[in-house]
């Protein structure tokens, strides 16, 4: 349905949404109307990038063996405060080294002994943005 553009619409200033970073979905989903690849933008793109970094183990990437977190190996160890601290350091170092768009403000890693998992809460600020972004996720072994 076509909407009529009024005179007010024409002359009213609308804040332009700036796109600083973009990426596509990992499963290459297609937009049903435009039939183009669906994209993640700004905050979502950075979040996805951080998630990918955390899920990457060392020696997985070609010609960059130290890229990644090696979290899988840590999750094999018994749950405890030592691994909590190791996880925190590793996540912080990896994001600092490989995700220049995110400036970390706070990381908390909490062991959940009953679930045999770690609850990670990550707070960061995207480059040139004022609002902080938070990410919460659970790390646990799948096998």
């Amino acid at each position: 349905m076509a909407t009529q553009v009024t005179r007010a619409d024409k002359y009213t200033q609308v804040p332009r949404s700036s796109e600083t970073s973009s990426d596509f979905h990992v499963d290459l989903d297609i937009h049903p109307d435009t039939l183009d690849v669906l994209r993640l933008t700004n905050e979502n793109a950075v979040k996805r990038s951080i998630r990918n970094l955390l899920l990457t183990n060392n020696y997985e990437r070609f010609f960059d063996p130290i890229m990644g977190c090696n979290i899988t190996a840590m999750l094999f160890e018994p749950v405890g405060p030592a691994i909590e601290q190791q996880l925190k350091t590793t996540i912080e170092t990896t994001i600092r080294n490989y995700e220049s768009r995110a400036a970390i403000e706070d990381i908390t890693v909490k062991a959940s002994l009953d679930e045999n998992a770690y609850l990670v809460s990550l707070k960061f600020r995207i480059l040139n943005k004022v609002e902080p972004v938070s990410m919460d996720f659970k790390l646990y072994r799948i096998r």
Binding site: S21, D23, F24, A45, R48, N52, F62, F63
Partner: protein, 179 residues
Amino acid sequence: MPSQSTLNLATLDFDEVKANLKSFLKSQDKFKDYNFEGSNMSVLMDLLAYNTFLNGFYLNMIASEMFLDSAQLRDSVISHAKELNYIPRSFRSSRAEIDLFVYPSTNNVLNVTIPKGTSFSSRNGSNVFSFVTQENIVITDKNANGAFFTQKLPIFEGFILFQYRDSFYLILLLIFHRF
């Protein structure tokens, strides 16, 4: 930005290949808004660059192995040498020369033939070594005791696996396998 029509792949360095792929895709209309540092896209770029790198390396090796001057693998050099009618030296079996006496069971024997590949066994301490003859030997010399004898008969360690015969020069080359 005008669309870049060609992709520069004339490099063997992974990072350079990746940078060239990026600049090529950035110039295309389809990908002009994409951030090529984005992680999902970066994974695909890594794969493309790695594939290009492997192909480049493979072609470079093929090209260098095609010529005698630049070949690095021994098999390639030997293959090129064969085209020049040259057979390179290879591992050789140990050689021994023996004095052999054969006592025939009957007196009316005129000569004794030792066939090619006849096996001889020798012992050095607890080690046993097998030797074979390289060709048919016909012994006609007889001593006063009625024994056929030959001196300095050459025998070679191992056994014959196959023999190579050159069609032009009728060179017989025996290949021995050493234990």
